[in-house]
């Protein structure tokens, strides 16, 4: 289904859509206040962008250096060329430990690989422990935003869900009450899990360590109580030096939520005595994206979500309208690289206003890449209605008689055409717009009469 079709589903509830728009703008506003609070903001963005450029130019070397250091620190390092291999690696580790129930903190990569349904098919019970992710998991939904997974839901809906699944009081919508109910529910899961899975925010080539950032502390609650920790990361998450973390940790939370730093920033370098630590390095289309000169910069993304919060389309169409794991502007330049046919409408879900590029902490030229993808998609799809109409227009404009005739025809047609022409599925611009009033005469005639 295309973005416009799904967006119109979202807009069927105008009050909720308005709330969604305003709430994300509020998060964007917090990001502005936070970034303006430090005068060195632009310098930090420049530095982060240059570090990431250097990473992409040396990705093979940094990956090998990371692996060497990590292995020396007793971390098991696995390489997966695609989602299927990633899932198999995780499953093998679970089977080795005879593990049937795991806890998992936020990892967009495991969403990308569809790890949950894969593990469930193999009899493993997966519990997402980030509150927002747990909420959407209980509803059998994917996250609608990479930082705020349940931002499309109102507290009444969460209250009903928790009443049904966690036996909370009917009608109690107090966020504190609901959060603490989830705390009790998830505490049991943390204490019972033998294996915990996390994502990775940054992996340091110099030291072989990796960093996971949360506000809830759910990643740490999982891994420090489990015997085995599996960290899943895309190969682009590498950074060269430990001191680079200083730059990225200053940018990440400020861009994401407006906080100066996430409350927990955990640096994993080697397992606790008697425990196991695994890292899975996943390609899944990343090297292909790296080979696309115009689009490789999309791999600099640190998944802060700022481009979503600022995007006038994302705010008014919701995460699900994109139909891709990463929604919003950054998703619209990443997803076509994975499947250009499936995601062909995403680069058009933009006004090209450039706000996404302005807020991006690593200075990805998102709106320019959106424009570039449009060219690629037009090329791959061949002749379309728009192109056909331009060709007709070209013919009409080059023959004066045809031009005069078509003017007269259209003026007549506008008066008698039913609205269904303007408000049909092929004309998205017709929605909430009226047909223009028809002038009484042509401009040519008007000019003849009035030129004196």
């Amino acid at each position: 289904m295309s973005h416009p079709v799904k967006a119109s589903e979202f807009l069927k509830d105008p009050d909720k859509a308005k709330w969604h728009d305003e709430t994300l703008w509020f998060v964007r506003d917090k990001r502005d206040n936070s970034s303006k609070g430090i005068p060195e903001w632009e310098k930090l963005r420049d530095t982060a962008s240059q570090i990431k450029d250097n990473v992409l130019a040396n990705l093979d070397k940094y990956l090998l250096a990371f692996e060497e250091k990590a292995k020396a620190n007793h971390i098991h390092v696995h390489w997966a060329k695609d989602a299927e291999e990633h899932n198999q690696i995780v499953l093998r580790i679970l089977q080795k430990h005879k593990c049937k129930a795991i806890v998992k903190s936020k990892s967009i990569l495991t969403e990308e690989c569809h790890l949950n349904p894969f593990l469930e098919k193999h009899g493993v019970d997966v519990v997402d422990t980030d509150l927002g992710e747990r909420i959407v998991q209980l509803l059998h939904q994917p996250p609608s935003h990479i930082v705020l997974p349940a931002i499309h839901l109102k507290k009444g809906e969460i209250s009903d869900l928790f009443h049904e699944k966690l036996q909370t009081e009917k009608g109690n919508e107090d966020p504190e009450y609901l959060t603490h109910a989830a705390r009790t529910h998830l505490r049991e899961k943390f204490l019972a899990a033998k294996v915990a899975i996390t994502g990775v925010n940054f992996a340091v080539a110099e030291t072989g360590e990796f960093v996971v950032c949360t506000n809830e502390g759910n990643a740490d609650m999982g891994v420090h109580l489990a015997d085995v920790h599996i960290a899943c990361m895309g190969i682009e998450k590498i950074i060269p030096r430990r001191k680079d973390l200083g730059v990225f940790l200053r940018l990440l939370a400020r861009s994401a939520t407006g906080q100066p730093i996430t409350n927990y920033n955990s640096h994993f370098r080697s397992p606790s005595p008697g425990k196991e630590l695994h890292v899975v390095l996943v390609d899944n289309g990343r090297t292909k994206q790296l080979a696309r000169e115009k689009f490789k910069n999309s791999l600099k993304c640190i998944r802060c979500g700022a481009c979503m919060n600022t995007c006038p389309i994302y705010r008014r169409s919701g995460g699900y309208s994109y139909g891709s794991v990463v929604p919003g502007p950054i998703g619209s330049i990443l997803s076509p690289g994975l499947d250009i046919k499936k995601h062909s409408t995403l680069p058009f879900a933009s006004t090209l206003c450039g706000s996404c590029s302005d807020v991006c902490p690593v200075k990805i030229n998102i709106h320019e890449q959106l424009y570039e993808w449009r060219q690629e998609i037009a090329k791959s799809q061949g002749l379309n209605i728009k192109k056909l109409s331009m060709q007709i227009a070209n013919g009409v404009f080059s023959v004066p008689f045809a031009y005069q005739m078509s003017g007269a025809l259209l003026r007549g047609a506008l008066k008698i055409l039913p609205n269904s022409i303007a408000y049909s599925g092929i004309n998205a611009w017709g929605k909430q717009r009226e047909l223009p009033e028809v002038p009484q005469e042509t401009f040519k005639n008007w000019y003849k009469k009035n030129k004196a």
Binding site: R187, L191, H224, G246, R269, S272
Partner: protein
């Protein structure tokens, strides 16, 4: 070919322009380290307290399950560090020593040495960190200078209590981890 070999080979095939790794710039800090640090902690929904306030906090909340690992705070200890983190589930208060604090954001650096068990600062109901005023630095950049190539299996920057805003963006303290963070600056 192994997946590792094929991933590395496909990267090597791509003609990539070389890009220089930048030096990390230095930024000027204005203000008082301890003042800025305290403001940052309270913005993160934590608090900087005195040792007297700690005593009151323990008494008024009827806290009896305490593990104090910070030197000079042994008197608060009511139990010793267990061998398994699972036994920390009913822990009410952990008092641990921080290594350094960052004035711009309130982040405090801890390693295995300070935590005893890695789960400790997360699973405890309340967390108190003792930190020397001399261990404050302006920005994250200076913090990583101090950390340097320090070797620890686990390191943590903790900046506040466990929190979430996943329900309608309403801030709630105490999602999964510690419900409060209090810092004693000495």
């Amino acid at each position: 070919m192994s997946s590792k070999a094929s991933i590395i080979a496909s990267i090597k095939e791509i003609p990539l322009e070389s890009k220089e790794l930048p030096e990390i710039p230095r930024f000027e800090f204005s203000g008082n380290l301890a003042d800025n640090f305290s403001i940052a902690i309270s913005n993160n929904k934590g608090a900087v307290i005195s040792q007297t306030q700690l005593g009151n906090f323990i008494a008024s909340n009827g806290i009896t399950e305490i593990i104090a690992l910070s030197a000079g705070f042994d008197a608060y200890n009511t139990r010793s560090l267990p061998s398994s983190a699972h036994e920390l589930d009913n822990l009410q208060l952990a008092i641990i020593q921080g290594q350094l604090g960052v004035a711009e954001n309130g982040a405090i650096w801890l390693t295995d040495e300070n935590m005893g068990l890695r789960a400790l600062p997360f699973i405890t109901e309340h967390l108190v960190i003792v930190l020397s005023k001399n261990a404050l630095v302006p920005f994250m950049h200076e913090a990583y200078d101090v950390i340097g190539d320090q070797q620890s299996g686990f390191g943590l920057f903790v900046a506040g209590p466990s929190k979430t805003a996943d329900i309608e963006q309403s801030l709630v303290i105490g999602a999964h981890g510690a419900k409060s963070l209090q810092v004693i600056l000495i």
